[in-house]
């Protein structure tokens, strides 16, 4: 055994992979019965397993594979046609082979169980149906039920399937020894099932790959890193010697190529995990009595190999949930006008520097009300609090441990069994899970997994003489801090904001945030990197030599201040990661170490509010409710507007304001928006300012009863979080109350009254 163990290990790995392929082939075969290539591929796989098991003396395995091969041979030769029963039997065979392989792996033996029934079933299916179809002769060569031939297997325990062994030997022998004949099987109709070309073809795929220890790959990668540094040192050596220069040039090129190649060895397509899902889904659907069409997208998305294994179980769980509880029975689906077969899609893609894997079904969705009731019943939330929660917040209770063990959840909402385990597992590798569900239309669960050790494109920015990298996927655009001579930064020093296409985006001055400079140097010149993570959007202001000039010149300069490169994310250790603002570090081409900013962590550190979605959903509004936009009216009053009520901030030219009777209107897009004067809302006369030379008019757009309403203000000052709740007792006409903002009592506009004006 000592000599063999290495080969057995290889045999196990190879066979397991082959079985995955076999699952895929069988699935494909179901949709396209009789595809000769698929059949040939399946046949080959089983044949190889049979041959190898003979070699190592695994008699049960050999017997099973032999019977399977026989059945497959009949299929391939067209003596049988594939139906549900045959497919089912073949799947059982694959499962049995798998469990024997597992047993060999863990105990070194084939295990206690004998698969006599299964073998008998395989033989029966092959024999009986062959008789039914045509060729009764076909059944003869393998009368597996009776044991007519003595067990001749020399190794191992008494063979449970005596009939098969000797034949397995002879047949395998025949086919391998008769290798030379042309690979295309054109057997006469009565020929036995052996495939002349099969063994030769089976070997070829394995030759292109070789198994390497992951640790070995890691150390190669580390050494390449060292080589890169040495190369850089070489580059900085001052020399005129052409021979040295030429050699340095070549070393440079080779090092770059080597680094690129070495990095790739860490990556693995998620295909590796996905490949087994079609089979899982098929089995689950069958056992639940559902019809499910699975579509897989982005299986070539690459993820660090250390992470691919960690996502397998959570994803399996999500698929199980979707099929068991999400997708309705074919009858129920037909009744509501959906196609009988539920759609289940599995999608992987890169997003915001992470890999997102989406499991989406078009099933019944989750009944939010029942989740709410359940959460209240379980004491997770008080009835009063539950009323104030958004649907999304309520759905999140599904991830609570209290929801997981309960069987009732299945009857409640259809989802949630073990979702806390999914979340725990994903969070363990630094990922997140979110869930969206529409009653009657389906549920989508997204798993976001970090690329801890992956390569990713990153934007490298400069700030106060340091360089920092940020995941390019999170960067939406670069904007110069000033246009022409005006700075686009608004707001107070404590809460700078910038207006980007009407949205008010909070800014973080990187130099000040990181303490690189006591006061930012980027207010007047610099580059704003707009980033979006999760539901937050903000701008990071970094150094950039944006001169006053036209937009085109600006673009080029922006690129000078920030550059794109593909980086290898390296861990920086718990100590620095604990700061929560760096997600890792990387080594750039010049050998310099650059910290990677954790954009989520930064958003948390500066306590940015979630942005209001363009659709303006209720959740964002509640989250933004305690933050106010502070403005100054034309009369010089300091007023505040709840941020959640604001649709957009716009700048218009004063001369674009049109007067129609008592109303003043401003053209926005295709239509006119009524413009209200804040001073008049507050009950004072508006200031005559039409004659003003000021061209720009700041307009805060709020949602009115019929259409949007614009509020003209003199100046937008800031966005501030309230120190204390609104004091409605101090209400006045047009004023909803007073709130303390930055220590100053500020009147809050009664938005409803303003909109009605």
């Amino acid at each position: 055994m000592g000599d063999n163990s290495e080969f057995i290990g290889e045999f196990l790995v190879e066979s397991t992979e082959n079985l995955d392929q076999l699952d895929r082939d069988l699935l494909a075969l179901e949709s396209e019965p009789g595809d000769p290539q698929r059949l040939a591929s399946i046949f080959r796989t089983v044949h190889t397993i049979k041959g190898n098991s003979g070699l190592f003396g695994f008699s049960k395995l050999g017997a099973l594979a032999h019977n399977g091969e026989h059945l497959l041979g009949r299929l391939r030769d067209g003596k049988l046609s594939l139906d549900d029963r045959i497919t089912g039997t073949l799947y059982s065979m694959v499962d049995a082979v798998r469990s024997i392989l597992r047993s060999i792996e863990s105990t070194g033996t084939e295990g206690e169980q004998n698969y006599r029934d299964l073998a008998r079933q395989l033989a029966a299916v092959a024999a009986e149906e062959a008789a039914a179809v045509e060729e009764p002769k076909a059944a003869e060569p393998f009368p597996s039920e009776e044991p007519p031939v003595a067990a001749a297997e020399p190794v191992g325990d008494p063979a449970p399937m005596p009939a098969a062994e000797p034949r397995a030997e002879t047949e395998a022998g025949e086919s391998t020894h008769r290798d030379p004949p042309p690979p295309v099987p054109a057997p006469p109709s009565l020929a036995p099932a052996a495939a002349p070309g099969a063994p030769a073809v089976g070997g070829s795929a394995a030759d292109s790959t070789v198994r390497v220890d992951v640790d070995l790959l890691a150390s190669i990668l580390d050494l390449v890193g060292e080589l890169v540094l040495a190369r850089n040192e070489l580059r900085s050596v001052e020399t005129e010697d052409p021979a040295v220069l030429a050699a340095a040039q070549r070393i440079n090129a080779v090092t770059n190529a080597l680094q690129e190649t070495a990095v790739k060895t860490r990556m693995q397509p998620v295909e590796h995990v996905f490949s087994r899902f079609p089979r899982t889904v098929r089995d689950l659907a069958t056992s639940c009595g559902k019809e499910v069409a699975l579509s897989i997208d982005g299986a070539d998305t690459e993820l660090d190999r250390t992470l691919t294994e960690s996502i397998r179980d959570p994803l399996t769980h999500l698929l199980r949930n979707a099929i068991d509880h999400g997708i309705e029975s074919p009858e129920a689906r037909a009744a509501v006008g959906k196609p009988r077969a539920g759609r289940l899609s599995l999608r992987a893609y890169h997003e915001s520097g992470r890999v997102t894997i989406e499991v989406c079904d078009d099933g019944a969705g989750i009944d939010v009300e029942r989740v709410r009731d359940k959460a209240i019943a379980r004491g997770l939330v008080s009835p009063a609090d539950a009323q104030g929660l958004s649907e999304e917040q309520i759905l999140h209770f599904i991830f609570e441990p209290g929801f997981s063990t309960a069987r009732e959840v299945t009857s409640v909402s259809g989802r949630g069994v073990g979702m806390d385990v999914v979340r725990t597992n994903i969070e363990a590798i630094g990922g997140t899970v979110d869930l969206h569900s529409l009653r009657g239309q389906g549920t989508t669960v997204r798993v976001h997994v970090p690329l801890t050790l992956a390569i990713m494109p990153a934007l490298v920015v400069h700030c106060a003489g340091e360089r920092f990298a940020m995941p390019q996927a999170a960067v939406s655009e670069l904007v110069p801090v000033r246009r022409g001579t005006t700075s686009l930064v608004e707001g107070l020093a404590d809460a700078p904001v910038m207006r980007v296409r009407g949205r008010l985006v909070p800014l973080v001055f990187l130099d000040k945030f990181l303490g690189l400079r006591p006061e930012t140097a980027c207010r007047g010149q610099g580059t704003v990197v707009l980033v979006r993570v999760d539901d937050r959007e903000y701008g990071i202001v970094v150094d950039g030599s944006t001169r006053t000039g036209e937009a085109h010149a600006g673009c080029r300069e922006l690129l000078e201040s920030a550059s794109l490169s593909t980086i290898v994310v390296k861990p920086i250790g718990a100590v620095l990661a604990g700061l929560g603002i760096y997600s890792g570090a990387t080594v750039l081409g010049d050998g310099g170490v650059v910290l990677i900013l954790d954009l989520r962590g930064m958003a948390r550190a500066v306590d940015l509010p979630p942005i209001e979605r363009e659709t303006g959903d209720a959740k964002a509004a509640t989250a933004a409710a305690d933050r106010y936009l502070v403005c100054r009216t034309w009369r010089g009053r300091r007023i505040a507007l709840p941020l959640g009520e604001i649709v957009r901030l716009e700048k218009h030219r004063s001369r674009d304001v049109q007067v129609a009777g008592p109303h003043r209107l401003i053209r926005r897009g295709d239509g006119f928006t009524p413009l209200a004067d804040v001073d008049r809302v507050l009950g004072s006369a508006s200031v005559a300012r039409e004659a003003d030379t000021t061209d720009a008019l700041n307009v805060v757009v709020i949602r009115g009863p019929a259409s949007d309403v614009g509020l003209a203000v003199e100046r937008i000052l800031d966005v501030v979080a309230a120190d204390a709740p609104l004091q409605a007792a101090l209400a006045a006409p047009g004023v909803a109350g007073t709130v303390s903002l930055g220590g100053l009592a500020t009147e809050v506009i009664d938005v409803a009254a303003a909109a009605a004006q």
């Binding site: 890691a218 990668l221 580390d222 050494l223 390449v224 890193g225 060292e226 540094l229 340091e466 990181l514 303490g515 690189l516 390296k570 861990p571 920086i572 250790g573 100590v575 620095l576 604990g578 700061l579 929560g580 603002i581 760096y582 890792g584 570090a585 080594v587 050998g591 310099g592 170490v593 650059v594 910290l595 550190a605």
Partner: protein, 162 residues
């Protein structure tokens, strides 16, 4: 006396200011010279920066802060003694590398409880011409890289109160 007993360990000694310190040579990975460090904003004061070594990103710390090194530190920049502590590597910024000394365990004097250098110094050895302070790298590093207690608040002292 019995210099060749098995209880003799080799120590890598180095100078910090006017004092001499040493770490067990089995934990020494490499000595780096004139490698540019990447500054880590907001990290603990003891963290000087990061350096790339054999595929790893290694924090370099300033042991002088913890060891109260005094004297001329002008030449401090540049020499990093890279050591392994558990699975992690760290760099110690030192003023000058000195010899590797063989020290019998029996000749090591345990520090007094009231040492200002606390756990970071595991013992002292009288080398005749000078005292060598033998370091416990684990304790030393731990006390240097501990992050600031409250993120965003300067750990120096109470700044803008009110």
């Amino acid at each position: 006396m019995s210099t060749a007993t098995p209880s003799v360990r080799r120590w890598c000694s180095f100078r910090l200011g006017s004092d001499c310190f040493a770490v067990d040579s089995t934990g020494v990975v490499e000595v780096l010279r004139s490698r540019r460090l990447t500054h880590v904003p907001l990290a603990a004061a003891g963290v000087l920066g990061l350096v790339h070594l054999r595929g790893r990103i290694v924090p370099v710390v300033d042991p002088a802060i913890r060891l109260n090194a005094v004297g001329d530190r002008s030449a401090a920049a540049g020499t990093h003694l890279m050591i392994s502590v558990g699975d992690d590597w760290y760099g110690l910024s030192v003023d000058e590398m000195l010899d590797v000394v063989e020290i019998p365990d029996a000749r090591v004097e345990r520090p007094t409880a009231a040492s200002s250098r606390g756990d970071a110094v595991a013992g002292t050895y009288d080398a005749g011409t000078r005292l060598v302070h033998l370091l416990d790298p684990g304790h030393l590093i731990h006390s240097l890289v501990r992050p600031a207690p409250h993120f965003g608040i300067p750990c120096g002292g109470p700044h803008g109160s009110g």
